[in-house]
Amino acid sequence: MTSVILRTASRLLMTFLLLLSIFLLLRGHNEPGGGFIGGLVGASAFALYTIAYDVKAAREAFRLEPNTLIGLGLVLALLSGLFAAFAGDAFLTGQWLKFYVGDTQIKLGTPIFFDIGVYFVVIGVTLTMIFALEEEQ
């Protein structure tokens, strides 16, 4: 499919979709969103790009092999769970680091890394499927 309108629009949209996906991922712990949703939005961005251009271009834009991202995501989720061992807690117990920057309290926890793992896996899986199907042609 070669549509100038779609191509132009997809380049613009992609930036926003990717930003939105990261936004959804990061706000997920307190507002609607999270790794799964963020991942689906991120995957949609590249799916749109694939339709507007072709797989080759989408693969180049994605840079990473989607398979690799699946593995990275799984490892990240697993490692975030192992962190609890240092505190003597059970596997996957959330560990939090709280500190203040000025008056704002910053909370950093292992669940966010777990969620990033989910995010990677969802993007990786969806794109693996879409790229593979598209290359079938």
Binding site: G81, L92, M129
Partner: protein, 772 residues
């Protein structure tokens, strides 16, 4: 330092071995051998306390709530095995460094070898029976890697798989036996079970326990009819054979029988099973050993003889027999490892280990020759070797049982003759042209054979070296009671065992002289003894493949309509019937009270569903289904579930994209593909039942009073426990994170499956293509 650390340190070293190999190249084995050597010294320090009757135990919790812990238990028997595993381990690592020098994958070999060593060490000092089982199966697994090390050869892969299947299946029987044992005694600790002999023997579960444990031990220790995997395992590189088939892997079954002797031996079934199978094993293996011409295969069958002998002696039980078994076990470990290493050196330096191809090597390989002779004399049971003491004790232990005694003498005659084949043929017989110009093996390959064979000689000349510090505690552990004895090279008087030894030697020499003729005579035995059980193995494998094949063809037809229909039919008919018979349907139809826009949504959904069913175009069907999905998402929005709604929207969008991509590859609907009336009725009924069941279940659910316990808990705990205000997300990534971990793993596996299906179908990167 403690025992858990001892086991773990070897695992850790195993993990780093490939890196060390890359850094240190040819010097790696000298460094790697230091750890087992150190552990050998560490276990030596336990000799005095064990000798004083102490039992050393340590405990580390693993799953305390299930009674599964890293508890270690060191008594005379464990200590003997721990010393063998670590001491031999050091020598084998050295030998392997020389033997596999220049092999590009030697780092991986060290990884497998050290992992095996750690597993074996864990096995012999475990007190918790579940941990013992874990180590037991780890030895099966690591030996699979070791036997299949030369994985480019089909024979090696087959032998490795055979060893794994036989020993791991036996391991499962052992697990069942061990669990029954813990039910019968109420304990999962060997240290406690070992004091409950009467409870166990009187238990109604005794016979099942015995049979299951025996299955585990027989498969591991290659007793008839499971013996065939051991000679096939000679596909492994020689260091592996020398380690696995002398003091470790195959002795694990013997260790198990010895370990459980105090609480299980002495009953009629125990004696009957162990002695019968032991006797069949030794006679069969003796006949098969004389048939072979490959040095390693001869040694393999001789190993089977020894394992049979040990099983038999433990079956007989009692002070004399157990003493004989333990001394013989040590003697065998020493000479067999030395002989395997020597055979490997012959193979390595002369290019063949067929006794018909190599000869007269004593001139060029004097050190190997000396080691072979000393170890060989021990194996033949000649003085002044420790093997001689072992054999004398075995005869002495069997004096009361004339049938077993005769079987043992006949076997030993065969063993004696086979020993002479090993010593004389390759080394002394007139030189023939070897496949390559032989020369002496390098130092690292000489240390092992020489040290072990000389140790056998030293223990023979001065039996007091092992008598009090090692043998008495080991025998006491097997008997479950202290037992003082003394070992002598020669008996003070002219006794029956000595006469039997002389008879054995005389007949053995005769048999050796007629070796060629014996081989021809024995040819007919092979199908019955060796090929027979191996055939059963092949057949059961074939049966397994056939079952899988038939079942797959039956259930997974490749017809998508049929597959989906089957899934829905099974799932909803089962659920519906269960609900019906258990009185689960408790639906009260509540007249819906909805706003007009909710009614509108319901109408849209119904219309879209109807369109999806009636349409003739795939694209329309996909779009119609999408409409249903988006309407559902809107319902989620209306009822205040934004996370669900977003997810539903995104999934619907991506599903439409993916289905559209799939559709490009599908042929368009054709009239002759239109399903006939009966198919339509069948599918319609399945769909109708599925819808009905789901509706009834949903109505039942909303008829029940809503239980807010969980909701209330999550509402209260979300911020203090999970540091987040989005309860859905907190549940997903914190409270129930392990479910999510499972789900993303399933996702990953599904992606790999899809990739494989698509890529293999198109013929790119397909294995068949590579092979052709």
């Amino acid at each position: 330092m403690n025992m858990l650390l001892a086991v773990l340190s070897v695992f850790v070293l195993a993990a780093f071995a490939p890196l060390l190999q890359r850094a240190l190249k040819d010097a790696t084995h000298w460094l790697l051998a230091l750890l087992p050597l150190g552990l050998f010294a560490y276990f030596l320090t336990f000799l005095p306390p064990i000798r004083a009757g102490e039992v050393i135990s340590t405990a580390y919790p693993w799953f305390p709530s299930f009674g599964i812990n890293f508890t270690f238990y060191l008594d005379g028997l464990s200590l003997l095995f721990a010393l063998l595993v670590t001491g031999f381990g050091a020598l084998i690592v050295l030998y392997a460094g020389g033997y596999l020098k220049g092999d590009p994958q030697i780092g991986r070999f060290y990884l497998f070898l050290l992992s095996f060593m750690a597993s074996m060490l864990g096995l012999v000092i475990s007190s918790n029976i579940i941990t013992l089982f874990v180590f037991w199966e780890l030895t099966s697994l690591t030996s699979y890697f070791l036997i299949g090390y030369k994985h480019t050869y089909e024979s090696a892969r087959k032998a490795a798989l055979q060893a794994l299947l036989v020993t791991a299946l036996g391991g499962l029987a052992l697990l069942a036996g061990l669990i029954l044992m813990s039910i019968a005694t109420g304990s999962r600790e060997l240290s406690e079970i070992l004091t409950m002999g009467d409870t166990l023997r009187d238990s109604a579960l005794y016979l099942p326990i015995l049979i299951l444990v025996v299955l585990g031990g027989f498969t591991k220790s290659a007793q008839f009819p499971f013996h065939y995997w051991l000679p096939n395992a000679m596909e492994a590189p020689t260091p592996v054979s020398a380690y696995l088939h002398s003091a470790t892997m195959v002795k694990a079954g013997i260790y198990l029988f010895a370990r459980l002797s105090p609480v299980m031996a002495g009953t009629l079934p125990w004696t009957l099973i162990l002695t019968t199978f032991g006797a069949i094993t030794i006679l069969g293996a003796a006949a098969l050993a004389l048939k072979q011409t490959d040095l390693k295969r001869i040694l393999a069958y001789l190993t089977v003889i020894v394992l049979g002998t040990l099983t038999l002696m433990l079956g007989v039980g009692g002070q004399a027999a157990v003493k004989a078994a333990m001394v013989f076990l040590l003697a065998h470990s020493l000479y067999k490892a030395a002989l395997f290493m020597a055979a490997g050196s012959v193979d390595h330096e002369a290019g063949s280990r067929d006794v018909r191809e190599v000869a007269g090597l004593w001139r060029v390989m004097p050190v190997t020759f000396v080691a072979t002779v000393i170890a060989g004399l021990s194996m033949a049971g000649l003085p002044p070797m420790v093997g001689f003491i072992g054999k004398e004790l075995i005869y002495e232990g069997l004096l009361d049982n004339i049938v077993l005694l005769v079987a043992m003498v006949v076997t030993n005659v065969g063993l004696f003759a086979a020993t002479f084949v090993i010593i004389i043929r390759p080394f002394i017989a007139r030189a023939v042209k070897a496949p390559k110009t032989p020369h002496e093996a390098p130092v690292s390959m000489l240390i092992g054979p020489i040290l072990l064979s000389l140790t056998g000689l030293a223990f023979g000349l001065y039996p007091a070296l092992i008598e009090v510090p090692i043998m008495e505690p080991a025998v006491a552990a097997v008997l479950g009671a202290p037992y003082d004895f003394s070992l002598h090279l020669f008996p003070s008087t002219f006794t029956e065992p000595l006469i039997l030894s002389i008879v054995t030697v005389a007949l053995g020499i005769v048999l050796y002289l007629f070796w060629t003729r014996t081989q021809a005579a024995l040819a007919s035995l092979d199908p019955k003894l060796d090929v027979g059980p191996a055939k059963w193995y092949e057949r059961s494998l074939d049966l397994l493949t056939w079952t899988a094949d038939t079942q797959t063809r039956l259930i997974q037809t490749g017809n998508l309509r049929y597959d989906i229909g089957a899934v829905f039919a099974v799932a909803f008919v089962m659920a519906g019937l269960t609900m019906l018979f258990k009185g689960g349907f408790d639906a009260v139809f509540i007249a819906p009270q909805a706003f007009f826009y909710e009614w509108a949504l319901a109408v849209v959904m119904l219309a879209a569903a109807f369109a999806a069913v009636r349409t003739k175009s795939r694209l329309t069907a996909v779009v119609a289904l999408g409409a249903v999905g988006f309407s559902v998402a809107l319902v989620f929005v209306l009822f205040g579930a934004p996370d669900l709604a977003i997810t539903q929207f995104l999934v619907e969008t991506l599903v439409v994209i993916i289905i559209a991509l799939v559709m490009i590859h599908l042929p368009s609907f054709r009239l002759d593909e239109e399903p006939d009336a009966s198919t339509r009725w069948r599918d319609g009924i399945i769909a109708g039942i599925s819808g009905l069941v789901i509706t009834l279940i949903m109505l039942t659910v909303i008829s029940q009073p809503f239980d807010r316990t969980l909701s209330a808990y999550f509402e209260a705990q979300s911020v203090p426990g999970g540091e987040g205000h989005n309860i859905v997300n907190v549940i997903l990534v914190d409270f129930r994170a392990i479910d999510t971990l499972g789900e993303i793993t399933v996702l990953a596996v599904a992606a790999i499956g899809i990739l494989a299906l698509l890529k293999l179908r198109s013929g790119q990167d397909s294995p068949q293509k590579e092979a052709s």
